[in-house]
């Protein structure tokens, strides 16, 4: 792929996102109300941040995938709120929760790097265990009674921009820079493209993978805190199938499941498409029974069209 095409990688999904938005806005102009855009932004932030993390893991190659984000959201939401209602200062509780997320990321990296356990399995383990732990800690009860300064993380805004959206943009900026402009980004692509050759080239493949898993786990933990703040409570059941949406977002955004290719911006656009769908289906008053059918169809169509577009692009060159 040449230099120029790189810049247009995200064009397909971006066009899809805009088209969906315009379509919804025409059918229901209220779609463009500030309040609705804020709602949409908050949801997109949740998926977007997770999808960026997922992009790191998928890019690292070897069929790596992170199935744990959804459960991590539940677990870290519970852990942070549990600490807060037990009197630990908000700031420290957040730091400890994010620290725990990083440990879980290292744990994933350890199994994948050292024991050669497929990422699918070790993160499936975390999916099950983290959700189980959330239930063990809470017995299913929500953790309530959170202080205002905590819920502000998701419910506050700065000149109309909800804080989660600001967090999303910060994360996007940083990760985009890391992936596109730093040595780590190149090494991640190299590892995903051909692990053996990368190792022969002096890339510390294991370290690269560790970092990818840690980024994903950390961002999931961050989302866990945002979600808890958004709901004003720690909910053990939250985040059910988020991992699938996060993976789908990444792929819609151009990440190749076989590794080596991916973009943080694309992941966020993919997350935007899915969040917009969730919102638009309600805005357009589509019967809820059809929601899943439509979401599934749009995911398939978006990915298929993008693949066909890239193929015809490659051919016409």
């Amino acid at each position: 792929m040449s230099k120029q095409n790189r810049a247009f990688r995200e064009l397909g999904p971006l066009v899809a996102l805009i088209a969906l938005g315009v379509f919804t806005a025409i059918l229901n102009p209220r779609f463009l109300s500030i309040y609705n855009l804020q709602t949409l932004g908050k949801q997109a932030a949740i998926f977007g941040i997770m999808a960026i993390g997922e992009t790191f893991v998928i890019m690292s190659g070897g069929g790596s995938i992170d199935l744990s984000p959804g459960s991590m959201v539940a677990l870290i939401g519970i852990v942070s709120t549990y600490m807060i209602v037990h009197g630990i200062p908000v700031f420290i509780a957040i730091l400890v929760s994010l620290g725990l997320s990083i440990l879980i990321g290292l744990w994933h990296g350890f199994f994948v790097n050292k024991l050669k356990v497929p990422a699918f399995i070790i993160t499936l383990g975390t999916l099950t265990i983290a959700r189980g732990m959330a239930a063990v800690i809470t017995k299913g009860w929500p953790i309530v009674g959170l202080p205002k300064n905590f819920v502000m993380i998701a419910q506050g805004d700065v000149v109309g921009f909800p804080i989660p959206v600001i967090i999303l943009f910060t994360v996007l900026l940083i990760t985009h820079f890391v992936l596109e402009k730093t040595v780590y980004g190149k090494h991640l692509r190299a590892t995903g493209g051909n692990e053996v050759a990368a190792r022969f080239s002096g890339v510390k493949v294991e370290k690269v993978r560790y970092i990818a898993f840690v980024v994903s786990a950390f961002l999931s933990g961050l989302v866990g805190i945002i979600v808890a703040a958004r709901l004003s409570q720690g909910q053990p059941g939250v985040g059910g199938t988020y991992e699938l949406y996060a993976i789908a977002s990444a792929v819609i955004g151009g990440t190749s499941l076989s590794g080596g290719e991916g973009s943080a911006l694309g992941a966020v656009i993919g997350a935007g498409i899915i969040s917009l769908l969730w919102n638009a289906l309600v805005m357009l008053n589509v019967s809820t029974y059809w929601h899943n059918v439509i979401i599934g169809a749009v995911i398939v169509i978006a990915v298929t069209l993008d693949i066909l577009r890239k193929k015809s692009l490659a051919r016409s060159k």
Partner: protein, 295 residues
């Protein structure tokens, strides 16, 4: 004795408390099980495992009333007494049913909504499942209660048991329908999600909320007047009574126990409709039961 619930949920954890309390009071061993999410197949699996284990009695809240019939019949054949709680399956031959069924509770919720809206308005339902029986029955009861009124159900939103999505959907619904008059929340987290959305949109009191369960956050919103009414089923009572009935059956025999119970073999635990007006009474009552709610 084994009690099988439906899912990991505050409601079922209250049932569990009742079960444990009864077990302790009666000096018997109790086991309480729920699948992580509503899953009839997993429940059936548990039920069959208990039967195989040969426990002294089973109380089950079937996620699906018909699917468990063969297993219940099998248990009765083997001489294991079985009763149902929360959800009934009368055709199975179970001895007793304890609880208020979801349909009735939903119906009462509908009546409450009717009163709140004076029989006229637009309502959106939020639920966590379009397939779980408790959700279906609550919604059905609700719909039947408002059938002959001018209350219109604009949309039913399924968040797939995800609290964050429930909130997003409630927000979207407020946006899509600026003239909305009421929310009906089917699952425990639906009420708070809707309350949060309504509160943030500055529509407290304008959009009425009727929901289910009495988790602390719901009661908090009731206190603030964001939620107008919530249906408190009595999970603690159901759990406690289930063990008590099963205990009697094993000690006194099934027939003797049944003689003490209503002829229709239904023990109605009733529904507490908790509103801002009667909240204090409710809290006091809970405290007397030994399960105070703090928030």
């Amino acid at each position: 004795f084994a009690v099988i619930g439906k899912s990991v949920h505050p409601y079922w954890s209250q049932v569990e408390q009742g079960v444990k309390a009864a077990g302790k009071a009666l000096g018997v061993k109790t086991q309480f099980f729920v699948p992580a999410k509503e899953d009839i197949n997993a429940q059936l699996q548990m039920l069959e495992s208990f039967i195989a284990q040969g426990v002294d009695g089973i109380a089950i809240a079937p996620s699906d009333p018909t699917a468990v019939i063969p297993a219940i019949k099998k248990a009765l054949e083997l001489g294991i007494p079985i009763i149902t709680l929360d959800t009934d399956t009368p055709d199975s031959g179970r001895y007793v049913y304890i609880g208020t069924d979801n349909y009735t509770a939903g119906y009462i919720a509908g009546e409450t909504m009717k009163k709140l809206l004076n029989g006229k308005g637009k309502v959106v339902i939020g639920t966590g499942s379009l397939t779980a029986m408790n959700s279906l029955q609550r919604m059905q009861g609700f719909k039947d209660a408002i059938k002959d009124t001018e209350i219109e159900i604009l949309d039913t939103l399924n968040d797939e048991e995800d609290g964050a999505r429930a909130l997003s959907m409630a927000e979207s619904a407020l946006n899509a329908h600026p003239d909305l008059d009421g929310f009906f929340g089917v699952y425990a987290y639906n009420g708070p999600s809707q309350a949060l959305a309504v509160k943030n949109a500055g529509k407290v009191g304008k959009v009425k909320i009727v929901c289910f369960d009495t988790t602390p956050d719901i009661l908090q919103y009731v206190k603030e007047g964001v939620i107008q009414a919530t249906m408190g089923q009595k999970p603690y009572m159901m759990g406690y009574l289930s063990v008590a009935v099963l205990f009697n059956m094993s000690k006194l025999g099934v027939t003797n126990t049944l003689m003490m119970l209503p002829k229709d073999r239904i023990i109605d635990t009733g529904v507490d409709v908790v509103t801002p007006e009667n909240l204090d009474d409710y809290l006091k009552y809970m405290e007397e039961l030994g399960i105070p709610v703090k928030f």
